[in-house]
Symmetry: D2
Subunit: 384 residues, 4 copies
Amino acid sequence: MRKLRMGMIGGGPGAFIGAIHRTAANMDNEIELVCGAFSSNAEKSKLAGEELNLHPQRVYASFEEMIQKEARLEDDKKMDFVSIVTPNHLHFTPARLALQNGFHVVLDKPMTFDLQEAKKLQQVVRESGKYFCLTHTYTGYPMIKEAREQVKNGKLGDIRKVFVNYPQGWLSNFLEAGDNKQASWRTDPSKSGKAGAIGDIGTHAFNLAEYITGLQVSKLCADLNIVVKGRKLDDDGAVILKFNNGASGVLMASQIMAGEENNLTIQVYGEKGGLEWKHSDPNSLLLKWPDQPMQTLRAGTAYLSEIAKHNTRTPAGHPEGFIEAFANHYRNFALCVKASIEGTKPKQEWLDFPGMEDGVRGMAFIENVIESGKSEMKWKEFTI
Amino acid sequence: MRKLRMGMIGGGPGAFIGAIHRTAANMDNEIELVCGAFSSNAEKSKLAGEELNLHPQRVYASFEEMIQKEARLEDDKKMDFVSIVTPNHLHFTPARLALQNGFHVVLDKPMTFDLQEAKKLQQVVRESGKYFCLTHTYTGYPMIKEAREQVKNGKLGDIRKVFVNYPQGWLSNFLEAGDNKQASWRTDPSKSGKAGAIGDIGTHAFNLAEYITGLQVSKLCADLNIVVKGRKLDDDGAVILKFNNGASGVLMASQIMAGEENNLTIQVYGEKGGLEWKHSDPNSLLLKWPDQPMQTLRAGTAYLSEIAKHNTRTPAGHPEGFIEAFANHYRNFALCVKASIEGTKPKQEWLDFPGMEDGVRGMAFIENVIESGKSEMKWKEFTI
Amino acid sequence: MRKLRMGMIGGGPGAFIGAIHRTAANMDNEIELVCGAFSSNAEKSKLAGEELNLHPQRVYASFEEMIQKEARLEDDKKMDFVSIVTPNHLHFTPARLALQNGFHVVLDKPMTFDLQEAKKLQQVVRESGKYFCLTHTYTGYPMIKEAREQVKNGKLGDIRKVFVNYPQGWLSNFLEAGDNKQASWRTDPSKSGKAGAIGDIGTHAFNLAEYITGLQVSKLCADLNIVVKGRKLDDDGAVILKFNNGASGVLMASQIMAGEENNLTIQVYGEKGGLEWKHSDPNSLLLKWPDQPMQTLRAGTAYLSEIAKHNTRTPAGHPEGFIEAFANHYRNFALCVKASIEGTKPKQEWLDFPGMEDGVRGMAFIENVIESGKSEMKWKEFTI
Amino acid sequence: MRKLRMGMIGGGPGAFIGAIHRTAANMDNEIELVCGAFSSNAEKSKLAGEELNLHPQRVYASFEEMIQKEARLEDDKKMDFVSIVTPNHLHFTPARLALQNGFHVVLDKPMTFDLQEAKKLQQVVRESGKYFCLTHTYTGYPMIKEAREQVKNGKLGDIRKVFVNYPQGWLSNFLEAGDNKQASWRTDPSKSGKAGAIGDIGTHAFNLAEYITGLQVSKLCADLNIVVKGRKLDDDGAVILKFNNGASGVLMASQIMAGEENNLTIQVYGEKGGLEWKHSDPNSLLLKWPDQPMQTLRAGTAYLSEIAKHNTRTPAGHPEGFIEAFANHYRNFALCVKASIEGTKPKQEWLDFPGMEDGVRGMAFIENVIESGKSEMKWKEFTI
């Protein structure tokens, strides 16, 4: 089948994640960028479109214009789906508009500005019958898929303990005082929402923990901190978790761990053994056993599960990284959309990308953590 | 000066830590074992003494007998200090008796059965004027001493965040059902005290965090779990910490992280940078900087602080381990006791071994955590 | 400027490296695949073209047909360059034909079937005035570029010692007996050339050593082995090296190190310090100092050299891998070709991709090693 | 049984290895130092003896005096064995004298000043019927013993390839110009013998390779270098090896790899799998498999071989290091000597310490490497 046609909202000059989305979408020859509304500033949007070799007519001054005009294009020309890479406060409206106009949607995380929006958007997705992908990158890594399989197949026994840690250090200073675009919107409650670090990276950690274990957090106890003077949103947090099977966990998310890059790690322990994964060595998965030597499973090997293999391009020893993990979500999403276009049934393994359920639970996580953080009581039931 | 003469209480057949104490004491040619009451079973004590080549007259049927008889020996023969390596419920009485009879004391951790005993023992130590060493092994590692120096010298700036994790997996099963001596007393409230994992290894983690940072925990929020069915004491716990300078922290201590050995790790972050140490690679200390490459400081090198060097025997690249760290406490303690005997002033660096303050704070940690664990309120002030 | 148009020779069904080339070329939105002769079997070529969504008229039955027909297309349609990903014996002829017909060329390594061909091709490249890129992937990694900068800037002082090791294990068995396409041509002297492992991966190691150090091998002593019974070409080798500044080195290349994946490593030592890079952790570069802590330089950080930064897409802590390294060569090559089309001068940093010099030296390396391997004398002068 | 009584020759002020020997001997409560001739300078010897709390009558002005006087002491007083820790040129004479006077001997490596002496000493050992231990430290590590067991039990299949690397950097400068005692004798042909780095550390690497594989080197090809100007002996070398089963190998030993500490590593590959051990992480042994995940075997675990367990003191996760490895040799030697005194048969596992065979082969290695280094021919048969 032909390549899918992608439109992009956001991702203009100064953006980081927009370029990642484009490269990821581009990677597997399934998708081509055909149009965009790259900035709320029409001039900036135009410049971005030129740089990306887009036809000037397909570079729009606003997302509304893009969605409406694209919707009216002929089927063999108009975009198939839209990728939305704006700050959090600009997720809901364009996503809803796109879905209601018949476009599938890829949306950067977290899902929306607040939980209420997320639940509304979930409803819109359901009604639209379109595919919706939320780019929680880390579940795109093949060894994370392998980790999930190991748990699902009972290799670790019943899960007892989860530890997930997402340390960054880039907000150790009051960076938002300067012109760092990444820092300024992420620390601005009017754009980022109620949460800082917990929303930006804590939701990744939360999603990863639930994805690998197949469990759901049922209550939690949060300690949120604003460490850097003058900041308005949390830049550091720790959350004690209880899962629906009785397992306990700890989640840490911080952007003031000076000197840390982006080293998300997760450890899961069951009755029979444990597993460990580190973003700094993403192609390895450690399995730890009480009475046998630790094993290091490696991406690209023959002994992995089918779903791990499906999400790898290179043989063992040829490291894949962040963009490839990101691209896995795009590829699986694209395979589903193509199947939908062709009227065929998607394979089970293609459906394995984060969606609206993950998004709603992520937004609920933010709100529950914020509420718990303010509470004098230890436990907060996880409510949606 | 001659070697110091050591007597030992506990450490008979089946014990683990007794042999470690003896080897550690033995290592630097400063100490010789001259007598012991190795078991409450007189026959077992005798057998242990024989195996250790002790003179039969110096192998005692009970610690009371040992302390009393040794106290009456001539100065050039009697033991200088006693090393107590019994389970927790048998710490206080022999330690007090030894101190009151003029002997310096090395005591295995945690200090006592409960906080009340610890405070009493602290009083006894003060009144005795004797040296008292509590073997929190991990602060004996040279790179831990270096870590403390880095913090003390302001290299990291004000401390903001501490994460200390002590994962073990050996109690993943109901081991106390069998004849594992280590498991059975540690999980028995009548011998171990109020806490299981939090007392056995959580106190190490707590002590390490306060040692490196020079800070004190001022309040905490604990989640304690009994994961293995039938167990009477916590085997897993997570504690959110607040320090007296406003810094936050997380402490984890678990003995049901299946597949984990004994990999205590600590990370400390300040305004300017972070540090990381892992027990699995104890001769390295990582320093992380926001805008400079991470540095790996190594034991035995010329660029370390004097106190780190003082606690090393071998040049860089010749790994020292657990016994050497243990031996550092014995050596520093011994150097102080020798100075005391010779009437000289101990060097500052010799005084750097854990003592009664650490012990009392450790017991307070246990009690505060236990109380917090039962509470519905989030925060518990750290009280002593 | 518009995307460059790429044609591909080879890379049909069963090929590994063809897909890597396409993904790498595709990554940075600079290049689009427009045509191909994917197999010497016309039917297979056609199928590959379909799968790649190419226009049927641009899928050719042979490389000769492709080059001739593309050469006659109009300028705004015809391919700009050709990427050749066939086995070694099919490098020279299509590359020469392409260059002589005015196409720039990307060629998989090693350059040709033998040294004589390589020298001829070098002449053709020179006469053509076209760009020629030889895909020695590993020099595409940003931390390898950083390593070269460190050496060039004298940080290590005069280089004294180089150790480069390329261990693989996939040919530990007589895999060529089965239907493994990768194994069968690589072990077949009529397709691979005079060398097995030394040609396939030894040339990568050799290229890497010369690239980082800026030195040239001047003599060598080789031990080549055929370890697996029945094999016709070396599957294991060790080479002692002497460089033109007097430095010594050791190069190992083996495909029978059972259990190894593809962990190319290099260590370089100078008067003042050493460096180490491992393919298994490609985003780190270790700098080792005699009297200062080891430093770990990381891709994506602000403190790196400009050329390292130029070859990275993501911020620190977002791992890039093999495909990105590959893509760096394509991107730099493409930037040069675009400049050539636009009549502008390429930036110095774009010119940093492996070319005909590397190719000729690589082929000379193979022939010198083969000859040395057969010789009873220790040293073989490195001749071209 | 009582502790064995040790006398020491060498190891006075400024020595490094003497203190290591004493600490190692001391570690397991099997041995006590009773006498010494610590320096050829009587005054220095006396001072060292005082510092070690020896009885003045047991501190001797020369090794001749010590051996003769100790030989005349009564059986319940005189030393049982002598530990010789002098520079290489002072190994043979005291060792022979000690053996001929009825003392068992522990000798630091390499065995003697030259091969001829080694063969003579071997004869003396045989005639004496005494135990002789050569302290090749690295074979004392429990995971090295495990590695040997894995090979012996056929887990890797027939061995095909060995790579052993011993990198140090401490002689990167002309250190012998100053007053570094370690540097000056090691670089002095009149004290060190014919070889520098190859003798000092290359022999360790050679011994380790033969120990783990159970193979013997049958021919070799050496490249020896004097890198630092003014130095008289090799400070860097690479040797290609052939083993008696046809396997190949590479051995590197260098003391000018600036920034390296003492990171001896070995990799062994067989038909079925490979193993890897690094001195920087001595309590781990990696087993690599072509079609199964890599395994990390750890010291102190229940799944190890009996001989690995016999050479460990602490449970898994409590790192042992260099001194413990050294102590394993002393302990096994001591257990054998005790058995000899008691007239019982030593256990097989006690006999596992390096002896005269290792010593003679080590000295032959030096001479063969030196000769090969000077030769223009590639291969030198390994002759003794």
